[in-house]
Amino acid sequence: MQQALTRKLESFEPLSDQARWALNGLVLKVRQVGARQDLIQEGDKPDNVLLILDGFACRYKVLSDGQRQIMAYLVPGDFCDLNVFILDEMDHTIGTISSCQVVDIPRQAIDEIAAHHPSIARAFWWCSLVDGAVLREWLVNMGARAPDQRIAHLLCELLMRLEAVGRVTDNSYAFPLTQTEIAETIGLSDVHVNRTLRDLRALGLIHLKRRVLTILDVERLKAFCNFTPNYLHLRSTRWGDRRDLSWPGRAQEG
């Protein structure tokens, strides 16, 4: 289970053995949290960084009329509040979707490990930047894609993210989301979500049974929603060797 974080960080940044050891040492107390429980609520002061080891959680807000909007999914290896680490209080709530294994990491431990291991510090930066990139992509999804493409896009994204932490087998992954939760994520009604999932099934793109989602034809599903995984910034999707090239201007100066 502890490997989820290491795998995630390594998908952004190569880690030394020492850095890996240090990360393994971070995971001290694991707690089991039931499904649909709040981990931290809007207005709370975050004392620890939460790390999801297993299960699905989400960031959400509830409007005064009771309508809920989910703004992010957190899957194994995701930090819950690395980004509000420096802020005084939560501006949204984080709750579980399925039952989760959660680790509380004191702020100080995060500060120390990042100070001693520059590769971990960089990987943490990657995490925060990618969270922002995913949020931008979700904005595009909600604002500009057709309803069936929105769902297809979400399913492709989950495939890539879960694959990066070793949670995909034969294009299948655990899918604990209800139709209502999908609806709350992509700004549609439950009814539209139901019809869209039915369409995707009828097109032979997905299979959903007993909370396991199988993508039957990954390339077709990606083409269906024009999925471009660049915003996830996973190593497998980047031009790894390009990153080491120095800037042309600098090279001449040196």
């Binding site: 309508q67 139709q179 009604s189 439950d190 009814v191 139901n194 019809r195 039915r198 369409d199």
Partner: protein, 90 residues
């Protein structure tokens, strides 16, 4: 209470059957006309995988009902009651 309020709170609803293409087996619909204006389209959920087959879903809303997300209504009476409440001037 102002006189204006007395006149405008009177919402006369008419329901008119219509078949609706929802790209699903949910076809049986109702145009909802309030004081002569089309304000909503309700569709009866028929696709067996819906949670609440047989209930009436607010498929589309116009004007003040545009973009409203609400759970499907068990009966047309429930739908009418909700529509009336949301069409009343604030």
């Amino acid at each position: 209470m102002s006189g204006r309020g007395n006149v405008e709170t009177l919402v006369v609803l008419q329901l008119q059957p219509i078949a609706v293409d929802t790209n699903s087996p949910d076809r049986e619909g109702m145009l909802v006309i309030a004081n002569g204006l089309l304000v909503a389209v309700l569709v009866r959920l028929a696709e067996p995988k819906h949670d609440n087959v047989g209930s009436w879903f607010l498929e589309a809303g116009f004007g003040r009902l545009q973009g409203q997300r609400v759970s499907a209504f068990p009966t047309l009476e429930d739908a009418s009651r909700w529509l009336r409440r949301h069409l009343k001037p604030v």
